[in-house]
Assembly symmetry: C2
Homo-oligomer: 438 residues x 2
């Protein structure tokens, strides 16, 4: 699609929210109003509840779509009802909103030339509060970032045994904690946990205290639109139709807590204290122009994982910024979401192979994404500091092995060229000291 | 409490649902009616929606409780709203229902002598359909059954390394899948998954097919009543107040799928295809008279795990029945829920140590419960068959290593003596062949 321009004022060419994007989120427009759906365009949001409650006949904008069901969906405090309408509806709705917002809009009377409605529905982003976009039933975190899995494997088991024998055969994943997923901007309290200070001492006796190794994980998150019936697998070739859209995901990790607890059943308190997602869900369709080949897997795949296409992933430029309490920001990691061994359709096919039911609003994490290159391409501090052996240098003469109280971490991600960018906005969280026990 | 009798007809002395119990569930009374709350008494259910919608003044039955909030809670399709009212309210409500149902009820005009209301609200259990009692936000499965953890550890790592170094220091657990928790009676489809047929062959190449090692896990499940704020831990000494009640839990497991997938992030498709719970939630108060000492832990515990009491667990008689397609039933396991190393308050304190938020309706599993004795006290087939080395003998000249299609597994659990039993009823599931791919 050629980048066309919008009549919305002052859209920066560098904005993640160009007319080519139209991501969906949940906003409240005043302290007393209940949260409802909106889209982002430039520095503005378009309040979809206000738009659909107006007197306008929106039927020509959304041909073939039941306007009443949209109106109902957009008045909800989550996007689940909209997600459930299915990808063909999302497509029509996104295109319709683009038509409303284009410079040469065929529907200028509906919004562009309708001052009272613009006053009501078109608001500066800074004037609204963002909420978690979906009610998340279950959250699953995969481990599809090959370079991350390999680098961490080398640290713990050496290069010969870096990857487990199953790694190239199936998308390894585990069930995460849905209740602690928070929207960008939510304060993150340094978790307290059991820690083994000296792993070599015998007997092994832990202490309890705030984590000394608070880390980030740069991930892409995928929201499910449609569920499957329990007992019925989703075919990898049909899995795209079950996807609603994508967010950035910071899977905060306490490495010392995780190391002591995770054998044999996997990560638990080292991860379940918080995971932050970006507030705007970029629809699956908006990312279609940015498909890319993932990491080549020369292993002969099981039939149910064969996608029959090469470009299963997206080439999203990803960045990690660390801002100190003093306000100095350093970009400590730059990579791309193409560095995945498994695509989300493959993860969905694997997840449902045994009949596990997906529900609308379920969240899948890609696993930490790191590039094949040097330290600057890593998606976690653990990799950047080579398991604590070196410091990550920051501007302002500062350095980190792991996060300090007062640090703010911001993930960013975008595709496309200036003026037609498709991006996520910021996924940010600031670290606060461990909460005192009650 | 002395076992007093009820005016409800024909309560068998062996019934799990004596007047001493009063467990809560969600029923629908006809195909067209929406599910709502009920309690079980003998072979009957008392429809709480019908009771609270009647013209009676229930204020004297539930002193100090807001009747409107109860009426609203009992008309919901889950018990979450009731659970959120808190344990002091549950206590008053249970006692009030006991008062309505006692032979010498002080409130005979409300139900005992009120034929029209009895017709409407008091129904045979066989006439109602049971539903999942709670909307489950997150499900966590612990591993607190010491004898199970030890026996399985010996099989995989030998007696020297049977238990990991963390096992005696913290309640090991992992996040399970909430979407595949089903109510007793739901058919269980044999899951398809990746399986490594010959673990010794190199290179390791899996096949995809129905599990050959379908197993059960006998567990106690604990429902959360109240949540904590994110970032704030629940004190082990206050954790009882966060508990709503208990169910039996069969954590179906596909051992071959699990073995291939579970390193390094834990069980996934080997578990997430289905977990079955018993339909009636036995309130925490109903189990109080059956407190017992758990397995002694001579390890010096971290402060946050010190309960300051000896009797942290319950002595519930547990049984596993296997019924073949031909209809022959064998009790293959008998044990007690006292064989736990960690209490649920300890699990809750550990789970929230880093600030992970609990929400009403969250489910915690104890982990498989096995006794210290022989084969007959084990809570999984994996232990009974000694990792596939011997068959479990059934009546009718039959035998099993793992489950066959057509088998039905029923868990049972109860405390107390005849006439005053507090039990769960059946937690049952029948195995069907793997669902065909669409």
């Amino acid at each position: 699609m050629a980048p066309t321009s919008s009549w919305i004022p002052n859209i920066s060419p560098a904005s993640d929210f160009s007319l080519a994007n139209i991501p969906f989120g949940i906003v409240s427009t005043s302290p007393s109003s209940s949260p409802s759906a909106a889209i982002a365009i430039g520095d503005h949001v378009l309040d979809l509840k206000a738009l659909f409650e107006s007197e306008n006949d929106l039927t020509p904008v959304y041909p073939g779509v039941d306007i009443t069901s949209l109106k109902e969906a957009f008045s909800q405090p989550t996007l689940n009802a909209f997600a459930q309408l299915g990808r063909p509806v999302h497509r029509v709705v996104r295109t319709g909103i683009q038509d409303l917002l284009r410079e040469d809009t065929p529907f200028s009377s509906i919004l562009k030339d309708n001052e009272p409605l613009k006053q009501k529905a078109l608001l500066p982003q800074r004037a609204v509060k963002m909420h978690l976009p979906m009610a998340i039933g279950d959250y699953t975190d995969f481990y599809a970032g090959y370079h991350h899995a390999y680098a961490v494997g080398v640290m713990f088991r050496g290069p010969e045994n870096a990857l487990q024998p199953n790694y190239m055969h199936l998308p390894v994943g585990y069930h995460g904690r849905a209740s602690s997923i928070v929207v960008s901007g939510t304060p993150i309290h340094r978790p307290v946990g059991q820690i083994l200070l000296d792993p070599k001492a015998e007997p092994k006796v832990p202490v309890t205290g705030p984590t000394r190794k608070l880390d980030i994980e740069l991930e892409l998150g995928c929201f499910i639109a449609r569920g499957n019936r329990m007992g019925e697998a989703i075919d990898v070739k049909e899995a795209e139709e079950y996807i609603f859209g994508y967010v950035l995901l910071n899977d905060w990790s306490a490495r010392d807590i995780q190391t002591w607890e995770y054998v044999p059943l996997g990560p638990f308190n080292g991860k379940n204290f918080a995971s932050t997602i970006s507030p705007w869900v970029v629809l699956a369709d908006a990312l279609e122009p940015f498909r890319a080949k993932g990491i080549e897997n020369t292993t002969e795949l099981q039939e149910y994982l064969k996608e029959g296409r090469e470009e299963g992933v997206f080439d999203i430029r990803l960045e990690v910024d660390l801002t100190t309490a003093e306000g100095d920001t350093t970009t400590i990691g730059r990579t791309s979401s193409k560095h995945l061994l498994w695509s989300f359709p493959q993860m969905i096919a694997h997840h449902t192979l045994g009949g596990c039911p997906m529900r609308p609003g379920d969240l899948l994490g890609s696993g930490t994404i790191s590039g094949p290159g040097g330290i600057g391409e890593r998606g976690s501090l653990l990799e950047m500091n080579e398991a604590g052996k070196r410091e990550v240098l920051l501007c302002g003469m500062d350095a980190r092995t792991f996060l300090k109280d007062g640090d703010t971490v911001t993930l960013r991600g975008s595709c496309g060229t200036d003026g037609a960018r498709v991006g996520f906005g910021a996924c940010t969280g600031r670290i606060f000291s461990a909460a005192p026990r009650k």
